[in-house]
C-alpha cells in the first residue's frame, strides 16, 4: 500500500517533468513567431547608421529565404534581427530569426533540423557551441543550403563566417578608451568574467600589451580577478580593489557582470569621475551607469551590422563566390574592408564605443 503511494508520487513527478519539457518545446515555437513579427515592426521605423547599397551583382537568385538561429532570446539579437530585416526589405528576401529560450546547443540543433526540413536557401547561425552544431550544419550543406555564421571563428561547416573585429583590435580599442579616461596615467586593474574564456583573456592581454607599448605612465596593479559572471561578486571585487589600491584610476572588465559590477561599486563609493570603468556589455544593461557616469565607456559591436553582413555574405555565395579575398567589402559600416583567413573567415572592424554622457537611448538593445 505504502509502496503504491510512493510509486504514484514518483510517476507524478516524472509526469510533471515531462510536461514541463513538452511545454517548453511548444512554447518555444510560439515565442519565436512573436519574436519575428515584433522585430519586423521595429525594422520599419528604425534603421542602422548608414544605408549602403548592397552589391550590385543581382543577376542570379534574388529574394532568397533564410533562417537565422541565434544563441538565445535576448534584446541583443533583436538588434541583430534589425539588420536582417533591413536587408530583407531592400532585397525582397524572407528572413526569420529563431531564438531558443535558453542558451542551449541542443535547442539550436533542433531548430536547424526544422530549417533543413523547410528547405530554406540559407541558414545563419550564431552558435552557443560550435562543436555541437557541426554535424547538423554539415547535413544542411549536403542538402545544398548555404551556411553563414557569426561569432564562430572555429566553426568548420560554414560557407562564410563574419566576425565584428579581432580580439586584438577590441582589446586595444578598450585600452584607448580607458587610457583617455585616465588621462594616460595612474594605476588600473583588470577583472574577468571567466578565467577560462579565451576571448576575454585575449582582449585583456591585447589591452595590457597596448598599454605597455603606448601609455608608459599607466601601471597595471592587479590582473584578471575572476568575477564568475556575478554582478554582486564583481561589485565586491571592485570595492576590494579600491581599498587595496587607493590610487586606482581605472578598471577594465570583460563581460557584462564585470562592468555592471564596477559601475555599481563606483556609484556606491561615490567615485564617479575619479575611477574609470570599461567593459563589454549591452547598452540596456549599462544605461543607468553610463547616464550617471559610473561607467566611463562600454565597447561592443552593432549586431545589426553583423546581421546585415551575414545576408550579404549569403547572397555573394549564392552568386558564386567560393573564396573571399583580403579586403572584401560587404557594403555595410564596419565591414568595408575585411581581413580574410582561409577564404571564408572574415573579420571586420565594427567597434562601437558608447561613452558616459552619450545618449544611450539611441541603442535600445
Amino acid at each position: 500500500m505504502k509502496n503504491m503511494k510512493k510509486l504514484t508520487g514518483m510517476i507524478l513527478v516524472l509526469a510533471m517533468t515531462a510536461l514541463s519539457v513538452a511545454c517548453g518545446a511548444q512554447e518555444e515555437g510560439r515565442s519565436n513567431e512573436v519574436e519575428v513579427t515584433a522585430s519586423s515592426e521595429v525594422k520599419s521605423e528604425d534603421s542602422t547608421e548608414e544605408n549602403t547599397e548592397a552589391d550590385s551583382g543581382t543577376e542570379t537568385k534574388e529574394g532568397f529565404t533564410m533562417g537565422v538561429v541565434v544563441k538565445v532570446d535576448v534584446p541583443w539579437f533583436d538588434r541583430l534581427n534589425e539588420g536582417l530585416q533591413k536587408y530583407a526589405a531592400e532585397h525582397g528576401c524572407t528572413i526569420n530569426l529563431y531564438a531558443p529560450s535558453t542558451p542551449d546547443a541542443s535547442q539550436q540543433v533542433a531548430i536547424i533540423e526544422d530549417l533543413i526540413a523547410q528547405k530554406v536557401d540559407v541558414i545563419g547561425i550564431v552558435p552557443n557551441s560550435a562543436e555541437a552544431v557541426e554535424t547538423v550544419l554539415q547535413k544542411a550543406r549536403d542538402e545544398g543550403i548555404v551556411v553563414v555564421s557569426h561569432e564562430a571563428a572555429n566553426l568548420n561547416n560554414t560557407d562564410a563566417d563574419i566576425e565584428a573585429f579581432t580580439d586584438q583590435a577590441f582589446g586595444e580599442f578598450f585600452m584607448q578608451s580607458l587610457g583617455k579616461s585616465m588621462n594616460y596615467e595612474g594605476e588600473y586593474a583588470t577583472i574577468i568574467e571567466e578565467l577560462t574564456n579565451a576571448n576575454h583573456n585575449a582582449w585583456l592581454d591585447a589591452a595590457v600589451a597596448y598599454q605597455e607599448e603606448n601609455y608608459p605612465d599607466m601601471t597595471l596593479v592587479s590582473a584578471k580577478t575572476e568575477t564568475k559572471a556575478d554582478v554582486s561578486q564583481a561589485q565586491s571585487i571592485c570595492e576590494e580593489l579600491f581599498r587595496t589600491y587607493p590610487d586606482l584610476k581605472g578598471i577594465m572588465g570583460t563581460g557584462s557582470a564585470d562592468v555592471i559590477g564596477a559601475g555599481l561599486a563606483i556609484e556606491n563609493k561615490g567615485l564617479m569621475g575619479k575611477v574609470a570603468a570599461t567593459g563589454c556589455t549591452s547598452p540596456n544593461d549599462a544605461a543607468q551607469y553610463l547616464n550617471n557616469g559610473s561607467i566611463s565607456m562600454i565597447g561592443l559591436w552593432d549586431p545589426a551590422n553583423a546581421g546585415y553582413a551575414m545576408c550579404v555574405l549569403a547572397q555573394q555565395i549564392m552568386d558564386g563566390t567560393t573564396e573571399f579575398s583580403e579586403g572584401a567589402d560587404l557594403g555595410i559600416n564596419g565591414y568595408n574592408s575585411c581581413t580574410v583567413r582561409d577564404g571564408k573567415y572574415l573579420v571586420g572592424s565594427d567597434m562601437l564605443g558608447i561613452f558616459a554622457g552619450d545618449d544611450v537611448s539611441k541603442y535600445p538593445f
Binding site: 503511494k5 510512493k6 504514484t8 508520487g9 514518483m10 507524478l12 513527478v13 510533471m16 517533468t17 514541463s20 519539457v21 511545454c23 517548453g24 512554447e27 518555444e28 515565442s31 538565445v72 532570446d73 535576448v74 534584446p75 529560450s101 535558453t102 542558451p103 574577468i192 578565467l195 592587479s222 590582473a223 584578471k224 580577478t225 575572476e226 559572471a229 556575478d230 554582478v231 554582486s232 561589485q235 565586491s236 571585487i237 570595492e239 576590494e240 580593489l241 579600491f242 581599498r243 587595496t244 587607493p246 557584462s256 557582470a257 555592471i260 559590477g261 555599481l264 556606491n268 563609493k269 561615490g270 567615485l271 575619479k274 540596456n284 544593461d285 544605461a287 543607468q288
Partner: protein
C-alpha cells in the same frame, strides 16, 4: 569553559580569528571600518539563503531548488511590476515574491512529506522544473529598467561614512533584512516547540513520530519556509544588483551549502545554531573577499578556499575523535560509580 570548548562554534571562531589576524597583518586595511561595512553588505544575500537552507538541513533534509525558487519568484514579480500596468511598491514587491516562493517551496514539501521521497531527488527535480518554467514561460532576458522604488531602496542607506580619499562607505538599509531573518530563525529554532520539532526530526525521525510530532506537517512547513526565504533572498539580490538576472543564481546551491556546513551545522541534520551559521558565513566572506587585499590571484582562489575548508573539517573531525575518547572515559567512570551504588 569546558562547555564552550566542546562546541564546534568555538573552534570555528578561533580559526576565523586566526585567519582575520593573518590577513590583517598582511594588509591592515582589512580591519578598516570600510572593509567591514563592505563585507557585511556583500554577505546579505548569502546570509539570507543560508538561513533558509540551514533550517532544512537541521531537519535532516536538503533543498537545492532554492536558487531556482529565488530566480523564478523574483523574476515573475519583476515582470509584473515592470511590464504590467500596476506600479507597485517595495513592500508589495517583497510580499508577492515571497508568496510565490512559499508556494514553490510547499510543492517541495508536498512531495517530501506526503510521498516520503528523498528531499535531494525531489528538489533536484523541482530545481529543473522551476528553471524550466522560468526559461520557457518567462525567458532569460535581463531586466534592466526596474521601477524607481527598487533602485532607490537599493541606494537607501542607514549611514554613510566618507574616508580621507573621498571614498564613501554605505551601510545599506537592506542589511536589516538579513538581521531580521537571522533573529527570526534563532527565535523559532530555539524558543518554539515547532523549532525543537525541527531539531527532533533531524535527530531521529522515527523517534519524533513516536513522541507524537506531526512530522509530515512539519516537513511541509519547513520546505515552505525554505521557499519563502529563498524568494526573499532573490528579491534582495535583485535589489542589490538592480537587475533582474535569471542566470546569476545558477549554481549557488553548493556555495550556500558549504557556508552552512562551515557553520558547524551537521549535514545529516539535528545539529546547528544561528551563531555557528554567522561564523560560517563570516569565514566564507572573509576568505572570498580578502584575496585581493593580500595579493592572491584569482587562479588560487578556489584552491585557498578548499584548503581553508579542509583545515576546518580536519579540526572538527579531530575534535570529535577527542570528544569520543573523553566521553568513553566519562562513561566508564559513571559506570563504576553506578555499579558501586548498586552493590551497597
Amino acid at each position: 569553559m569546558k562547555k564552550i570548548l566542546a562546541k564546534n562554534e568555538f573552534y570555528l571562531f578561533v580559526i576565523l580569528l586566526m585567519i582575520c589576524l593573518l590577513i590583517g597583518s598582511m594588509n591592515p586595511v582589512f580591519f578598516s571600518l570600510g572593509n567591514m561595512v563592505d563585507l557585511l553588505r556583500a554577505a546579505v544575500p548569502y546570509g539570507i539563503f543560508a538561513a533558509g537552507i540551514m533550517i532544512v538541513i537541521v531537519s535532516g533534509g536538503i533543498d537545492i531548488s532554492f536558487p531556482a525558487i529565488a530566480t523564478l519568484s523574483t523574476y515573475v514579480t519583476l515582470l509584473l511590476f515592470v511590464n504590467g500596468s500596476y506600479e507597485g511598491n517595495i513592500v508589495l514587491f517583497f510580499l508577492l515574491s515571497c508568496s510565490i516562493g512559499l508556494i514553490l517551496g510547499l510543492v517541495n514539501g508536498f512531495f517530501i512529506a506526503v510521498f516520503d521521497f528523498p528531499p535531494l531527488i525531489v528538489t533536484l527535480a523541482t530545481q529543473s522544473i522551476y528553471y524550466g518554467i522560468q526559461y520557457t514561460f518567462f525567458g532569460s532576458k535581463r531586466l534592466t529598467f526596474l521601477p524607481e522604488y527598487i533602485n532607490s531602496f537599493s541606494k537607501a542607506d542607514l549611514f554613510t561614512a566618507v574616508d580621507e580619499n573621498g571614498m564613501s562607505y554605505i551601510f545599506p538599509k537592506y542589511f536589516f533584512i538579513v538581521v531580521f531573518v537571522f533573529l527570526l530563525a534563532f527565535l523559532v529554532l530555539r524558543f518554539t516547540f515547532m523549532g525543537r520539532g525541527i531539531f527532533a526530526i533531524g535527530g531521529s525521525k522515527s523517534s519524533a513520530i513516536r513522541v507524537g510530532f506531526n512530522v509530515k506537517l512539519l516537513q511541509f512547513l519547513i520546505y515552505g519556509a525554505s521557499g519563502t526565504i529563498a524568494a526573499l533572498g532573490g528579491a534582495v539580490y535583485t535589489i542589490m544588483i538592480r537587475q533582474g538576472n535569471p542566470a546569476s543564481l545558477i549554481g549557488l546551491e553548493m556555495t550556500i551549502i558549504s557556508i552552512v556546513v562551515l557553520g558547524g551545522i551537521e549535514i545529516n541534520g539535528g545539529k546547528g545554531s544561528i551563531f555557528g551559521l554567522v561564523l560560517g558565513l563570516a569565514f566564507f566572506m572573509v576568505i572570498n573577499n580578502s584575496l585581493i587585499l593580500v595579493g592572491i590571484s584569482s587562479y588560487w582562489k578556489t584552491f585557498v578556499l578548499g584548503i581553508a575548508m579542509y583545515l576546518y573539517a580536519a579540526v572538527i573531525a579531530y575534535k570529535r575523535k577527542m570528544r569520543n575518547k573523553q566521553v568513553h572515559e566519562i562513561d566508564m567512570q559513571a559506570l563504576q560509580k553506578e555499579g558501586g551504588k548498586v552493590s551497597e
